[in-house]
Symmetry: C2
Subunit: 343 residues, 2 copies
DNA sequence: TGCATAGATGAAACCGGTTTAATTTGGTTG
DNA sequence: CAACCAAATTAAACCGGTTTCATCTATGCA
């Protein structure tokens, strides 16, 4: 256990340099090569990663900074990252910034880079880092790419929130709805503004007037969906016939509250969510929602980062991916349990 | 960018050895130490991880083998692992075996160890590896610990499935149920057998006869819950008044099918699930279920591994953690909350 | 004040690879 | 068959740390 290149060289009767050439697929006479390979096999030899990293300056490791892997949203992205890295022979050191509110964690990315522990860093959503550190890292000239299903970033890969919202709302207008409310995410957040503007754009594209009073601020939490539904129910007959929630948790809150009030979904009101979290399919009525290509996002971001790391493509580019509308029951698009009106 | 220990030594006017001592907190005169620290700060110096790893033989990295990080179940475990490793200054290389059915992935763990890329490996559920490779690794004398919320393992940390099932079923008998069915997981799986025997034990502990015909085989999938519910409904008036499902997906399948048949949960039949997946709380009726301490599991397993790595505790031990019963609506233990409260 | 000695520091070897410059090899050509 | 040249191989230096062993310093005590 623990053979070194010198051992292999001795057994094979060649020099260390030759063994190194065999390892790295450089030109070696085939008879020599097979002698070396045989010795390597015999010794169960595996090159020491540290020694290689020390001389080559490359670690074949990518740092992934993520706010909580337990979150299925980020988990899916990391899954895609892993797939891409794996296919190109890279490993991934995952660091979660969520755990310790500790400010120190934030420097983890920069530290990994300076220690040469990682060749590049993939930041899953800029939220994983404070703006200051993020900017500092960005201009440090270290390979860095941002993967994000939500907000806008300076450089990296993201999903088009505007387009996603347009798809959701257009789905509702196509079903004949003219009075469509939106329950927003955290008001100031970029992704939320993008979704809001998608909502607005889709309405206006269908010749429907945008009404401020139909925009209910939420905060992505289930309870804020419940609260929003309360406000809408209070409108009485002026209530909208459709609701677009900026994420699935809020959509579920909306629906559960409406149900408590005896209002049927999708019979009386159609609801569309966003994210397609796992619960969306099991929820009753099953949620119509917007699915973001998270695994794909991770893959694309990882490949992008590797091309930067390997020097193939030095300039930073912004890539935009499309979200997909998943039509289930809550929007009343297809015949389901309920028999209510369709428009 | 990229200062070395020699640079620091030169600037500080000392030898490399002294700088090394400062880095590793060895005894150094305080005046000397501050000179060195100042130089380090001035150069924005960070020791090269490869160089350190090469001489010390330690990488401060732990390999984590997991079947799909996107899975919230494993994600939670990894989350705990990360927290523990982080608190002790270790990094984590995550490898998912699920992606490429590629046999080669399986050797990833052994390879990381031989390359000295990782000081130890944490296998999240032995399923992540084929039995052969697993055994091979186990007896290789490399630091290895298994963390598993489900099945039994040769060594490592796991959750007590037997006890979890007992808690679930005892909850039902405490509520007065005498005719309790169980929808099982994959028949041969260890964790399933343990849950089954917990079910049986709890029944007999309450003086209730175990009936083979009330055990419906499932496979953990939602649809198998639906199928199981069908069978139970076919029993007509002989139908059980309570159902224990070996996981939440099946519990949801059972409930949704019963609901289609006009059978109310928990009004007519009480249902208890297992796992407490995220959907369990949003599902209506909210699921009473057994929550496994997954984050805790990850933490304990990681600390265990580190103690092996650091030589504190060489012998392999088996640690058993307790699951917790989460009482919500589906078991009818408390008045059904329908205003959208999520617990 | 001088000396003994524990403690701090430095020089050099070493960890296990890669790479450059020098040397050997083998095959081709005249 | 000798000379020659390109390709293959080797020896040695190097990457950036740690560690051993020798040397030097600064105390404590006489």
């Amino acid at each position: 256990m623990g053979a070194t290149i010198a051992d292999v060289a001795r057994i094979a009767g060649v020099s260390k340099a030759t063994v190194s050439r065999v390892i790295n697929n450089h030109s070696v006479r085939s008879t020599t090569r097979s002698k070396v390979l045989h010795a390597m096999r015999q010794l169960d030899y595996e090159p020491n990663a540290h020694a290689r990293g020390l001389t080559s300056g490359k670690s074949s490791v990518i740092g992934v900074i993520v706010p909580g892997i337990a979150n299925q949203f980020y988990g899916a992205i990391v899954d895609g990252v892993q797939a891409a890295l794996d296919s190109r022979g890279y490993h991934m050191i995952v660091t979660s910034t969520g755990h310790t509110a500790n400010q120190g964690r934030e420097w983890a990315a920069a530290k990994m880079l300076k220690e040469k522990r990682a060749d590049g860093v993939l930041v899953v959503t800029p939220r994983a880092l404070s703006p200051d550190n993020f900017m500092h890292l960005l201009k440090s000239s270290f390979p860095l790419v941002v993967a994000d299903g939500h907000s806008d970033a300076l450089s990296g890969v993201m999903v088009d929130n505007f387009e996603g919202a347009v798809k959701a709302v257009k789905h509702l207008t196509d079903l004949g709805h003219r009075k469509i409310a939106m329950v927003t995410g955290i008001p100031g957040a970029k992704e939320n503004l993008q979704r809001l503007s998608g909502y607005r754009d889709a309405l206006e594209g269908s010749g429907i007037e945008f009404r401020r009073d139909l925009v209910i601020p939420g905060n992505y939490a289930y309870q804020s969906g419940v609260a929003a539904a309360k406000k809408l129910v209070e409108m009485g007959k002026g209530m909208p016939t459709a609701i677009f929630a900026a994420n699935d948790y809020m959509a579920m809150g909306v629906i559960n509250h409406l149900s408590v009030c005896g209002i049927k979904v999708p019979g009386d009101v159609a609801v569309v969510g966003y994210d397609d979290i796992e619960s969306a399919a099991f929820f009753r009525p099953a949620l119509t929602t917007v699915r973001q290509p998270l695994v794909e996002l991770g893959k694309v971001a990882a490949h992008k980062l590797l091309s930067v790391v390997e020097g193939t493509e030095p300039e930073t580019v912004r890539i935009l991916l499309s979200a997909e509308l998943i039509v289930r029951d809550s929007s009343g698009a297809k015949p389901v349990v309920s028999n209510g009106q369709v428009s």
